[in-house]
C-alpha cells in the first residue's frame, strides 16, 4: 500500500461521525478489541470484515464470516471492490472508505447574505411590522381614534409576531446551536408585508380592471405566502436535506389549498372564498370600461339556465 487510507464512520443522517487514517493495510473491523476499528455495535461480529488489496491491486472489503455480512445499497454480499462514494453497512454501522487522492467536489458559492441577520435585521423587521400594522389600523380608522388605540394595536401585533419569531429561534437554537432571531424576525416581517401588499394590490387590480377573481379567491395567495414564509424559516434552521423541504412545504401548501376549495364548495357551491367582490376604491382607480344596462340584462338572462340546472326533485337527499 502506497497511499494513506481514510475510513469514515457515518451517522444515519449521512454525516461523518468519526474519521480514521491508516497508512497500512489490511485494516480489521469488528467488535473485538484486537481490531483496527472497534465498532460498538451489537449487530457487528467480533471480527466482522477486513480491508485489503486484491491481486489486481484494488481495494476490497471482505466479510470474515459474520452473521449479518456486509450490505451496500440494501444488497448483502461477502465481498466488495470498494467504491469511494459507497456506504457499507456492517451491522448497524455505516462506513465510507476513501483514499487520500479522492477528488472532492468544488466548493459551493456562498449565497447566504449574513448582513440579513443579527440586530440590524431585527430592527428592520421591527420597523416593517410596525408600519404594516399601523397602516392597516389607519386604513380602517373611520372614527377619531386616539394615539393610545394605535399603540395598543402595535403592542398586540408586535407581541404576536415576537411569539412566532421566538418559537422559530428556539427551534433553531435546539437544532444548530444558533438563535438567529434577527433572521427569523426579518422572514416573519417579509411574510407580513407580502400579505399586506398582496391584499391591497390584488384588490386594487381587481377593482381597476374588473378582475373579480383576484378579489374573491383570497385564501390561496395567503396560503402561498404563509408557506413561503415557513419555507424560509425552515431553510434558516440549517437542516442538511434542504432539497426535500421544498417538496414537503409544497405538498402541504397544495393540500391546504385543496382543503379550502373543498370547504368552499361544500358551504357555498362555489370554489371562491367570497361570493362576490366587495372591495370599493376611489373612482380614480377604475381603468376598464363600464358595461351598459343592456349587457347586464343579457348576463342576468343567462343566470336563469344556471339556476334551473341546480333544481332538484329531492333537495333533502
Amino acid at each position: 500500500m502506497n497511499k494513506p487510507l481514510f475510513v469514515e464512520l457515518m451517522t444515519a443522517a449521512g454525516d461523518v461521525a468519526q474519521r480514521f487514517r491508516f497508512d497500512q493495510l489490511p485494516i480489521r473491523i469488528g467488535r473485538a478489541y484486537d481490531n483496527d476499528i472497534i465498532l460498538d455495535d451489537p449487530y457487528a461480529a467480533a471480527h466482522h470484515a477486513i480491508i485489503e488489496l486484491n491481486q489486481l491491486e484494488e481495494l476490497t472489503l471482505r466479510d470474515l464470516g459474520s452473521v449479518n455480512s456486509i450490505k451496500q445499497n440494501h444488497q448483502r454480499d461477502n465481498f466488495f471492490v470498494i467504491n469511494s462514494d459507497g456506504h457499507y453497512r456492517l451491522g448497524h454501522s455505516e462506513l465510507r472508505i476513501r483514499s487520500i487522492d479522492y477528488k472532492v467536489a468544488t466548493e459551493k458559492l456562498d449565497e447566504s447574505d449574513h448582513r440579513w441577520d443579527g440586530w440590524r435585521a431585527a430592527i428592520v423587521a421591527l420597523v416593517v411590522i410596525s408600519i404594516t400594522a399601523l397602516f392597516e389600523q389607519w386604513s380602517s380608522d373611520y372614527r377619531d381614534k386616539n394615539i393610545s388605540e394605535y399603540l395598543l394595536t402595535l403592542v398586540g401585533v408586535l407581541t404576536a409576531t415576537a411569539g412566532w419569531i421566538g418559537a422559530w429561534s428556539l427551534v433553531n437554537r435546539l437544532l444548530s446551536g444558533r438563535t438567529r432571531f434577527g433572521r427569523h424576525a426579518l422572514i416573519a416581517a417579509c411574510g407580513l408585508l407580502a400579505t399586506a401588499i398582496w391584499e391591497t394590490l390584488s384588490s386594487l387590480m381587481a377593482y381597476a380592471f374588473s378582475f373579480e377573481s383576484l378579489a374573491t379567491f383570497t385564501a390561496h395567495p395567503g396560503i402561498f405566502i404563509g408557506a413561503a414564509t415557513i419555507y424560509y424559516h425552515l431553510m434558516s434552521l440549517g437542516i442538511k436535506q434542504s432539497e426535500r423541504i421544498k417538496y414537503y412545504v409544497g405538498g402541504i401548501t397544495l393540500f391546504a389549498s385543496v382543503v379550502v376549495l373543498i370547504q368552499n364548495y361544500q358551504s357555498s357551491h362555489y370554489l371562491r372564498d367570497k361570493l362576490y367582490m366587495d372591495v370599493i376604491y376611489p373612482p380614480a382607480v377604475r381603468m376598464s370600461d363600464e358595461i351598459t344596462l343592456e349587457d347586464l340584462a343579457k348576463d342576468i338572462e343567462a343566470l336563469q339556465e344556471r339556476a334551473d340546472k341546480d333544481r332538484k326533485e329531492h333537495p333533502e337527499d
Partner: protein
C-alpha cells in the same frame, strides 16, 4: 328579533296570570255562551303528526261545513302534509274527544285555506251557500261583535269575543281585521257573527300589537268549497298545484307593483326608486354624523305581507333599501374602505337551503343614466316549484370620491321575466341629482345634505312589524 321574542314572552306571561285571575273575571256574555253550545259540536282540533314516531308537529283548528264530512282550516296548519305527505299525516279530535285521521283535499295557499275530509258529519251549524255569489254571506259592519272559536295553545276549545274592524289592505289578498284575541292553535278555527253566521277563518295576529288579529273572509272559503266536490279524491301531489297558485299570485302582485313606475325620492346627491303603497311601506333614517367622520341617510321599503308555504318557505315578497353616505372628514382611501365594508356580506349562500338552489350571480361595473355603479345580481330557483325565482340586487356607486349610494332589492317568488324587468327598472331609476353637481364646496354641501336627508326620516314606533301565523308548534307531545 329581540322585539319579536319580547312580544312572545309578554303574551305568555299575560296568559299565565290570566289563568290565576280567571275566577274573578265576569262571566262571558250570554251570546258567547249560547253560540259556543251550538258551535262546539262541529269544531275540530287538527294535529299534524310525523308518520315515524307519531310525534306532534303542529296543532290547529277546523270546523265542519254543513252536514257533510268536509272541514275548513288554514293551509299553514296542514302545509307539512301537503308538501311532505311521505313524512306527515293528520289526525283530528272533536270536542267530545272522538278522533280519527283526516285527508287534505284542496288548498288555497294565497288565502291560507284548506279543505280536509274527516270521518264525522257536521250538524249543519256552519253553513256556506255553495255559489260564486259572495253577497249571500252576511254583510259585516265595523264595530260589530264577532266570535272566534278554536283551540288556543292546545289548551282546550275556547270562544273569544271581539269586534270587526274592516279590511286590512296591507296585503295583496284581503283579510278582515278582528280586534280580539286569536292565539296560536286557533288557526283554522271559525269566526262567527252573533247570529251564528260564518264571518271568516282565524289566521294570524300581530305580535307587536294588542288584540290585532286577522281573519280570512268567508267568501274565500266559499270559493274553495264550491270548487271542491264532496266526493273529491285528494291529488297525489300538491306541489304542482301550489306552484301554480304561487305563479298566479306573483302575476297579480307584480302587475300591481309594475302598473306604475317607481316613485323617485331624493337621497343625498342621488335620486332613488322606491315603491310606497298600501302593501309596501317605507321607513327612513338619517344620521348627520356630528360625532363621526361621515353622515348617512337611508330609506327602506318592505312589503308587509308574504305567503306562508312552509316554515322554511315564505314567498311572494319584495323589499328594497337605499343607504347613502357622505364623507366629512375621512380621506378618499378610508372612505372607499368604509364603503366596501358596508357593501360586503350582503348576499348569503343558499347552498344548504332545501328550498332554493345555490345562488347564480353576475357582477360588473355598469354605466347607468348619469351614474356608474358596481352591480351584483343573484337569482335562485325553487327546487319544488317550477317557474318561480328569488332575486337579489345590490349596487354601490363607483364614481364619486366623497359620496356613496348603496342600494338593495330583494324579490321572492317571482317569474323570471318579471324579476328581470323589476331589476332593470330599478336600476334605470337610479340617478344622480342633476342640480347637485360638484360645484359647492364640501363643507357647505355636507350641511345641505344633512337637511335634505332629514326630511326622509320618518318617525316609527317599532323597528319591524311581524305577523305570526297562529300555528302552535309543539313538539313535546
Amino acid at each position: 328579533m329581540k322585539l319579536f321574542s319580547l312580544c312572545v314572552v309578554l303574551l305568555s306571561c299575560c296568559l299565565s296570570s290570566a289563568t290565576f285571575a280567571a275566577n274573578n273575571l265576569p262571566k262571558p256574555s250570554s251570546t258567547a255562551q249560547a253560540l259556543f253550545e251550538k258551535a262546539e259540536k262541529d269544531l275540530l282540533k287538527l294535529r299534524v303528526l310525523t308518520k315515524n314516531g307519531r310525534s306532534q308537529s303542529s296543532v290547529g283548528s277546523a270546523f265542519l261545513i254543513g252536514t257533510g264530512n268536509l272541514a275548513v282550516t288554514n293551509f299553514h296548519v296542514i302545509s307539512q302534509i301537503a308538501l311532505e305527505p311521505e313524512t306527515y299525516f293528520g289526525e283530528y279530535k272533536n270536542t267530545k274527544g272522538e278522533s280519527g285521521d283526516f285527508v287534505v283535499l284542496a288548498v288555497d295557499v294565497l288565502h291560507d285555506l284548506a279543505i280536509v275530509r274527516v270521518a264525522q258529519k257536521g250538524t249543519g251549524f256552519y253553513h256556506i251557500p255553495l255559489t260564486d255569489d259572495k253577497n249571500q254571506l252576511p254583510a259585516l259592519q265595523q264595530g260589530e261583535n264577532l266570535y272566534s272559536l278554536g283551540n288556543p295553545l292546545d289548551l282546550g276549545f275556547s270562544i273569544t269575543e271581539g269586534t270587526y274592524n274592516g279590511l286590512n289592505t296591507r296585503g295583496f289578498s284581503e283579510q278582515y281585521m278582528f280586534t280580539g284575541p286569536v292565539n296560536p292553535g286557533m288557526s283554522g278555527g271559525p269566526n262567527i257573527t252573533a247570529d251564528g253566521e260564518l264571518a271568516g277563518v282565524n289566521v294570524a295576529h300581530r305580535l307587536d300589537g294588542e288584540l290585532v288579529s286577522f281573519l280570512v273572509p268567508a267568501h274565500y272559503a266559499q270559493a274553495l268549497l264550491t270548487k271542491t266536490p264532496i266526493d273529491m279524491q285528494p291529488p297525489a301531489d300538491f306541489k304542482p298545484l301550489i306552484g301554480d297558485q304561487l305563479l298566479e299570485h306573483q302575476k297579480v302582485m307584480f302587475n300591481i307593483l309594475l302598473s306604475k313606475p317607481f316613485e323617485i325620492k331624493e337621497l343625498g346627491d342621488y335620486r332613488v326608486p322606491v315603491r310606497e303603497s298600501d302593501q309596501v311601506r317605507c321607513w327612513g333614517d338619517s344620521d348627520d354624523g356630528t360625532e363621526k367622520k361621515v353622515s348617512s341617510a337611508g330609506i327602506s321599503c318592505s312589503m308587509e305581507s308574504e305567503i306562508f308555504v312552509s316554515d322554511s318557505l315564505q314567498t311572494g315578497h319584495i323589499s328594497m333599501s337605499h343607504s347613502y353616505m357622505r364623507n366629512k372628514k375621512l380621506n378618499s382611501w378610508q372612505f372607499a374602505k368604509l364603503s366596501g365594508q358596508r357593501f360586503a356580506n350582503q348576499v348569503y349562500s343558499s347552498a344548504h337551503s332545501r328550498v332554493l338552489t345555490p345562488a347564480a350571480c353576475t357582477e360588473n361595473f355598469v354605466q347607468l343614466h348619469n351614474v356608474n355603479m358596481r352591480v351584483q345580481v343573484c337569482t335562485e330557483a325553487y327546487h319544488k316549484f317550477t317557474g318561480l325565482y328569488d332575486f337579489t340586487l345590490i349596487t354601490a356607486t363607483s364614481d364619486d370620491v366623497n359620496s356613496s349610494l348603496q342600494s338593495m332589492m330583494n324579490i321572492r317568488g317571482v317569474a323570471y321575466d318579471t324579476g328581470m324587468k323589476l331589476v332593470s327598472e330599478f336600476l334605470q331609476s337610479l340617478s344622480r341629482s342633476e342640480s347637485n353637481q360638484k360645484k359647492i364646496p364640501l363643507q357647505d354641501k355636507v350641511n345641505e345634505t344633512t337637511e335634505e336627508t332629514q326630511i326622509n326620516s320618518s318617525t316609527r314606533s317599532s323597528t319591524s312589524s311581524k305577523i305570526s301565523a297562529n300555528k302552535k308548534d309543539d313538539r313535546n307531545e
